[in-house]
């Protein structure tokens, strides 16, 4: 595959480290084409039998940078597949939608590329797009929250 989309794991890790250090819950960071947002809400630590055989912190998933809480948001639109999210139909053109826009049910709100196929993601319901949780070109996992429509 010629045009892999390499993600800078180190950068994510650095930001995750800063998040810890500064006790922030979210950092958004952009340099040139690269935009990264890292966030962390209180991790659902199992208190009683909790820690479990791994240092959860050391496996900072490269793609799991959205705040875990967003996935449970009633208005969250989650990714139906693993792939790369695109907010505009082609590089340089206008985004499908922007925070504050009213979107209609069935309207294409972003694309997810998987296996060289661009899969349109449609709004599951109409409403106000309150937040976009991913950046253009960001790898997303299955189930990862993409946008919030309220």
């Amino acid at each position: 595959m010629g045009n892999k989309t390499p993600i800078d794991s180190e950068l994510v890790r650095t930001l995750a480290g800063l998040l810890d250090e500064t006790n922030l819950t979210e950092i958004e960071y952009g340099v040139g084409d690269v935009k990264i947002r890292v966030a962390r809400t209180a991790a659902p630590v199992t208190v009683h039998h909790g820690p479990a055989p791994a240092l959860a912190a050391h496996a900072v998933s490269a793609t799991a940078v959205a705040a875990p809480g967003d996935a449970d948001h009633p208005g969250a639109v989650t990714s139906p597949m693993v792939g790369v999210a695109y907010l505009a139909p082609e590089p340089g053109s206008a985004k499908f939608c922007n925070p504050g826009d009213m979107v209609a049910e069935g309207q294409t709100i972003m694309l997810i590329e998987a296996m060289k196929t661009f899969n349109p993601i449609r709004a599951p319901r109409g409403g106000k797009l309150s937040r976009i949780l991913v950046t253009d070109g960001q790898p997303v996992e299955f189930g990862e929250p993409l946008m919030i429509i309220e």
Partner: protein
């Protein structure tokens, strides 16, 4: 050149097993997982984890596109398929290669060849592996039946060409029984399938399941790592395996090992593979070849000191084997218990929360398991949750160590087959190594 990052396209203990091998080779790991496995041990331990789909295996662990996308996104060099799921899917292996990744396993062609029973048997025969002797075509006369049986040797099994499910199947122990059996089989076949054609095979009454572990590199070097005896099966699922087989001596091992290596060389096969045989009265009969890592590979690792997953990865990265057959030493005896989250009497699956988990330790004990206290065993997948492997200098040492370790193993909160194993390892027939592939079914019927 060695890989920098390997994607593990599997789950459970085998995903953890592969992760560990990568870690020990300095290779970074990507765990792909379903939403049901967010908290799985290997997902927590991997360098990167990517959720590829919902619990249903069809949409996650069997989802070729999602796995390849995850490999692309994370920049993996190679994909290890483990066992089960896509491990023997030739199309997947081909897609992996077409997308520029390395498939840690054999070529798609070899997977395809061994994936079809008929092609596999033909290929095995051509490559010089012993197969169950049988008539070339249908047996259409008494004379033909008698001459075929004389050639094959009694007892023989007469089977409907169109058949299945035991219909039109008759055993003949000698020439006196043969004609009647042949007639009965034809009549049954005619009645059941509308086709009276029958063929003839050697009948194996009490075979053992014995398999040879093979390693082959990309440059024609092939070695065998001895056999495993997997005769203890219930509903065609292996329950407890041991290596070496109590039924073979060093001479027989060397002979079947050489036959297997020669066949693998002739087939041009690469990477790890297992040739499964039925064994009876000193003779081996090819059943099938598994073109992947086996669940029971750790017992081979124990007696040879060779890390099979490491070897798979090395071979896939283009490294030569680097040792010859005479450098492989077999040391002691190993046994593996497969522990399932099942009722030990009814075998009903028992997923759920593991309230307490404590694995046995000490000399000669290995546990491969993704369990931990508080882990929830998801209901969506195979019920095998742990493998307990012991190694001793003798078979007797291994049995005593296995009993000791089974006594220390604590898995609370779900039902497991530990109690079954604890009983099994005290059985006299087991202790004497006196069992065939039918033995365990009868033992279970007697003991539950």
């Amino acid at each position: 050149m060695m890989f920098e990052k390997v994607l593990i396209a599997n789950r459970g203990e085998i995903a953890l097993r592969i992760h560990r091998a990568c870690r020990e080779m300095g290779i970074r790991t990507v765990a792909v997982h379903s939403t049901a496995d967010n908290d799985a041990m290997h997902v927590r331990l991997a360098d990167e984890a990517v959720c590829i789909g919902p619990p249903s295996a069809r949409d996650s662990y069997l989802n070729k596109a999602a796995i390849l996308t995850a490999a692309t996104i994370t920049g993996a060099d190679a994909i290890h398929p483990g066992y089960g799921f896509l491990s023997e899917n030739a199309d997947f292996a081909q897609m992996v290669e077409e997308h520029g990744f390395v498939f840690i396993g054999p070529t798609p062609d070899h997977i395809r060849m061994m994936g079809d029973k008929i092609t596999a048997k033909q290929a095995a025969k051509r490559a010089g592996l012993p197969v169950v002797p049988g008539s070339e075509g249908s047996i259409d006369s008494e004379e033909q039946a008698l001459s075929s049986a004389a050639e094959i040797g009694y007892p023989v099994l007469i089977k409907a060409t169109a058949g299945g499910g035991g219909k039109g199947m008759k055993v003949a122990r000698n020439a006196d029984e043969l004609v009647e059996s042949w007639k009965l089989a034809r009549n049954e076949a005619k009645a059941a399938f509308g086709n009276a054609d029958v063929y003839m095979e050697k009948y194996l009454g009490h075979p053992r399941h014995i398999e040879m572990q093979i390693l082959a590199d990309n440059y024609g070097a092939v070695v065998h790592l001895g056999e495993r005896d997997c005769s203890l099966q219930r509903k065609h699922q292996k329950v407890l395996e041991e290596a070496p087989s109590p039924a073979l001596n060093a001479d027989q091992r060397a002979r079947i090992g050489k036959t297997a290596c020669d066949a693998i060389a002739k087939l041009g096969y690469r990477n790890a593979g297992t040739i499964e045989f039925l064994y009876e009265n000193g003779e081996f009969y090819f059943i099938e070849m598994n073109t992947r890592l086996q669940v029971e590979h750790p017992i081979t690792e124990a007696i040879t000191g060779i890390d099979l997953v490491r070897e798979q990865i090395r071979i896939a990265a283009g490294a030569p084997l680097g040792y010859t057959q005479d450098e492989i030493r077999f040391q002691g005896h190993a046994m593996e218990c497969r522990v399932n989250a099942e009722d030990p009497e009814t075998f009903t699956p028992s997923p759920g929360r593991v309230a307490d988990y404590h694995s046995p330790g000490g000399l000669g004990v290995r546990v491969d398991s993704g369990l931990y206290s508080g882990y929830r065993i998801p209901p969506h997948y195979d019920s095998m949750i742990a493998k307990l492997i012991v190694h001793g200098n003798t078979r007797n040492e291994a049995i005593l160590r296995l009993r000791r370790a089974l006594g220390e193993y604590v898995i609370e909160g779900v039902k497991t087959t530990l109690p079954l194993h604890r009983k099994l390892v005290h059985d006299d027939d087991f202790v004497n190594g006196d069992y065939d592939i039918h033995w365990l079914e009868k033992w279970v019927a007697r003991n539950t």
